[in-house]
């Protein structure tokens, strides 16, 4: 009996506190909006036009903090946090938040150990690393008790995709879903991704713009149905895909995913490309996108050509260059001790990190100019006339033997020591092309 009374009492208290909580929240929310409409009217207006506003989701729903959170602070009577993390968004968008945590994007903030971050810190300096690297990759958010919102100005503002948040979550939803409109159309457009995916080392934006896909998109942007709830290429729009169409959005047979790597069969990032784990499934995933608009032979044909370019890059340039680099290091030929303090290291770096990626990315997204002129052409020029001469300068027997052998005996490189007439004859007869037959015979 006593227990029952206690239970009913507890239930009653719970209901009352729940109701008063909702009531209280409403009033707090109204207060936030009142001042911020005046103090930051653009922000208010963005929110006002958002789907959040239509659903009565306002400031406090995302910015409310719990006692004990490192970045929580009292602001006009409410305990709030400036930083909204995937964990906060995940209160409602739980599937998306989970997918993000598993994605490669979420690891982007862990770059401090990478060569990229090393280079930015030594050759550049912290200010450039903060505004450069960490702006895209995400900062490790630091707490500064003397800062008005408890966030160190070195790591706030930051909306890098792999931001390491004080609550332990990784990422920042607004890297793509720009606050405070959180427009679905904005996130679906290529501009959302090309905040970071552009430039000499990964020109996805430029490749897309060059490709037929990009071309069609910019022509038919008004027909892209970008605001639609369901957005499947070939069904809800059909003129062109955007970045998200292929990498994230729902397809005829797959749901939308925020784990961006799920449709990638290769990693085109490292010096030598390798297939990703479970790559066949991932390629099959991507093919479900292609099939929205293309026949199977068309899509498979693309992969046939693309795979060959990756193999060509790997076999002809990446592997020999990497081998030469290893020999240089093994024989202690580098004059200066620090990484990147020798010219050859920069040359090798640009060979794979800039030009080599351009070649691979160009092929992956059907950008002819990036595959050849910005890609393979630059790789070849760099390999033959900067990298090899730089390595030969050391006068090391082992290195020189490797290079001599490569140029003399590898049919892919022996053109260097063959007469032009003979080479042209081989091209005309198809003998030259036979050298590269194996590139098309991969898995």
């Amino acid at each position: 009996m006593n227990n029952k009374v206690r239970y009913i009492g507890w239930l009653f208290t719970l209901i009352i506190s729940f109701c008063s909580n909702i009531f209280g929240d409403d009033l707090i929310a109204g207060k936030c909006l009142t001042c911020h409409k005046e103090m930051s009217p653009g922000l208010y207006q963005q929110w006002y036009n958002s789907a959040h506003a239509a659903m009565d989701i306002s400031c406090i729903d995302c910015h409310q903090a719990q006692k004990g959170e490192a970045d929580a602070f009292m602001h006009e009577g409410a305990l709030i946090a400036t930083l909204v993390t995937p964990q906060d968004c995940g209160q409602c968008h739980s599937d998306e938040a989970e997918q993000v945590q598993m994605s490669y994007h979420a690891t982007a903030g862990e770059i401090l150990e990478s060569q990229d971050a090393y280079l930015a810190h030594v050759a550049g300096g912290e200010p450039a690393a903060i505004q450069g690297c960490e702006s895209c990759h995400g900062a490790k958010v630091k707490i500064d008790p003397s800062s008005p919102n408890k966030l160190s100005p070195k790591s706030w503002p930051n909306s890098g995709i792999g931001r390491i948040n004080p609550d332990g979550s990784k990422g920042s939803c607004n890297a793509c879903h720009t606050r405070h409109t959180f427009s679905v159309a904005q996130a679906r457009q290529p501009e959302a991704c090309s905040k970071c995916h552009l430039g000499p080392d990964h020109p996805q934006r430029e490749v897309y713009e060059e490709s037929k896909h990009g071309n069609a998109y910019y022509t038919h942007i008004k027909d892209m149905n970008l605001e639609a709830d369901r957005w499947i290429a070939g069904m809800d729009y059909f003129e062109a895909p955007t970045c998200t169409s292929c990498h994230m959005s729902a397809t005829v047979s797959l749901p939308v995913t925020h784990d961006v790597g799920q449709r990638l069969s290769w990693t085109l990032r490292p010096p030598i490309s390798v297939h990703k784990d479970n790559w066949q499934q991932k390629r099959a995933n991507m093919l479900t996108v292609c099939s929205g608009c293309h026949s199977a032979s068309f899509a498979n044909g693309h992969y046939y050509q693309f795979d060959a370019v990756v193999e060509l890059y790997n076999e002809k340039f990446a592997k020999p260059a990497t081998e030469i680099m290893n020999l240089v290091i093994k024989n202690n030929l580098l004059e200066n001790p620090a990484s990147f303090s020798n010219e050859i290291e920069w040359v090798y770096w640009e060979l794979w990190h800039h030009e080599g990626r351009r070649m691979r990315h160009g092929a992956s997204m059907m950008g002819p100019d990036y595959t050849w002129w910005h890609g393979a052409y630059d790789v070849a020029h760099n390999f033959y006339f900067k990298f090899i001469p730089e390595a030969q300068k050391y006068g090391n027997a082992e290195v020189n033997t490797y290079i001599d052998n490569l140029i003399k005996n590898d049919p892919m490189h022996s053109w260097l020591v063959t007469a032009t007439e003979n080479l042209k004859k081989d091209i005309r007869s198809g003998e030259m092309q036979k050298i590269y037959r194996k590139m098309f015979e991969q898995r």
């Binding site: 409403d26 109204g30 909006l33 409409k37 006002y48 006009e76 008790p145 003397s146 008005p148």
Partner: protein
């Protein structure tokens, strides 16, 4: 007696200089008496006459008096004779017989001197009185003071004399002000004054001494409804309201303290700011009931030299810095004239075009007067040619009203344009209240002085077609539902004890 006076006058006039003096004194005296009589009888009402009556003629009168002995001095030099000899020669032995102080002439001169002194005292009193009048301050240095004079006449304090705020009471203040006036005469004569003249923040009498004569802090202020009429820039110049309930209570008699808490008798707010502009706060402190001060420091403040830094206790003028010499903002001025019915809303795009006409960059008022007329007429001629023909008189009267706005607020000769003098009442950008109430001013615990909107006013309409937007029922599904509910609730609760 009159004959005797005339013969005295004839005889006392020696040499050209002396004669001039006599003529000057006599004519000034006569004119002065006539003018003063005319003023007393109400025949002359033009206040500008005061400048002549009380300043020019008394001055000429004294100069004339001084010239008379100068004439005598000249004569003595020329003839080489003694004063007594000359007097005897001029006035005859009857008049000069006896000792110097016992002679009839001496007694007569003494009598006249006493009359002169009486006259001068009387006229000086009148003069000081006149110089205390707003009219004198506003017009004596016409070009310099004109902006202040124009704005003052249209202000809530138009019936309070300048000196009541600008000059203190007692002899010391009087002398101070006259010495200051002397410098002003010099600076006007030799063109040394600043344009625009700086706001006299240091010379002003303490607000506690002046403002509080009428606006005493024990007065119960309560709260006050304020509605702003915001005409839009669309074709109809449609009207939207912003209604605020200003919480202006001083917090006496158990009432909740509002904005006038700052000057409540048990409270004191001190601040340190940069220069006389009082805009960039370095430190703000408020006295707590236990007598200790709670301090806030500006975390964004940059270093300033000691002479740039001014510390003072807050009083009326720190917010009401433009209580009298009120320069309008152009948009508010147009809204105000529309609201008062001076601008006719039957003209399309009136608000937009009126604002454009008065805010163009004119170099002087002639150009502005032409420009305003051209701007408005051309717009209607080009876009509404028929209406322009039909409503010529309405457009013309709009032009007159706009010119009036311009001439009230813009004074190019004194370098006064729109926005020359910032007003600290309310807030616009980071001015006014937001000088202290902002996130940068924090105490040692990092807490800022509150800058919550509803701290000082409830919001009953926010640029909305209903003047009491938020008192209407809040509708679920409205994107502003939460704000609506909060503001209604806040207003209703603000009256609870």
């Amino acid at each position: 007696m009159f004959n005797k006076y005339l013969s005295f006058i004839r005889r006392v006039s020696v040499t050209g200089l002396g004669k001039g003096g006599v003529i000057l004194t006599t004519s000034s005296f006569i004119t002065l008496v006539i003018l003063e009589l005319a003023r007393m009888l109400g025949l002359v009402t033009n206040a500008y006459v005061g400048l002549v009556t009380y300043l020019l003629f008394p001055f000429l009168f004294v100069v004339g008096l001084l010239l008379i002995p100068l004439g005598w001095y000249q004569l003595r030099k020329k003839t080489g004779l003694s004063t007594r000899r000359l007097l005897e020669e001029k006035f005859g032995p009857d008049e000069t017989r006896g000792s110097l102080t016992g002679s009839r002439l001496f007694r007569f001169i003494t009598l006249l001197t006493v009359i002169n002194v009486f006259f001068l005292v009387a006229i000086s009193t009148q003069m000081l009185g006149f110089m205390d009048s707003a009219y004198f301050c506003g017009t004596a240095c016409h070009s310099v003071m004109n902006p202040e004079w124009v704005t003052y006449q249209q202000s809530p304090h138009a019936r309070v004399r300048c000196v009541q705020c600008h000059v203190g009471e007692g002899a010391e203040a009087l002398i101070d002000s006259k010495l200051n006036g002397l410098w002003q005469i010099i600076s006007v004569t030799f063109n040394l004054y600043e344009r625009p003249i700086p706001t006299p923040v240091r010379q002003l009498r303490p607000a506690r001494e002046t403002c509080e004569k009428c606006h005493w802090p024990e007065k119960f202020y309560g709260s006050r409804l304020m509605t702003r009429y915001n005409y839009q820039s669309d074709e109809e110049s449609s009207l939207l309201y912003t209604t605020l309930n200003l919480k202006i209570d001083a917090g006496k008699a158990g009432a909740k303290a509002g904005i006038h808490w700052h000057i409540g008798q048990e409270n004191e707010v001190r601040y340190t700011s940069v220069g006389d502009r009082r805009e960039m706060m370095l430190r703000v402190e408020a006295r707590r009931p236990d007598g200790r001060y709670h301090r806030y420091y500006n975390r964004n403040a940059t270093a300033h030299s000691a002479e740039d830094v001014v510390e003072r206790s807050m009083d009326c003028v720190d917010c009401h810095n433009r209580a009298t010499h009120i320069y309008e903002e152009p948009e508010r001025a147009v809204d105000d004239r529309i609201k008062r019915g001076l601008l006719d809303l039957s003209l399309p795009y009136l608000k937009r075009e009126a604002l454009a006409a008065i805010t163009r960059n004119y170099t002087d008022s002639t150009e502005a007067y032409d420009g305003i007329a051209q701007s408005l007429r051309n717009f209607y001629m080009r876009n509404y040619p028929e209406l322009e023909r039909e409503k010529t008189t309405i457009i013309d009267s709009a032009v007159m009203v706009l010119r009036d706005i311009y001439s009230r607020n813009i004074h190019r000769s004194m370098n006064i344009g729109w926005d020359t003098y910032a007003s600290h009442i309310g807030h616009k950008g980071n001015t006014g209240c937001f000088r202290c109430h902002n996130p940068a001013l924090v105490d040692s615990a990092g807490a800022a002085i509150s800058y919550d909107c509803t701290l000082c006013h409830s919001i009953l309409a926010d640029n909305h077609k209903e003047p009491f937007q938020f008192l209407e029922p809040a509708e679920t599904g409205d994107r502003d539902y939460q704000r609506h509910r909060y503001l209604k609730d806040e207003f209703l609760n603000s009256f609870k004890k």
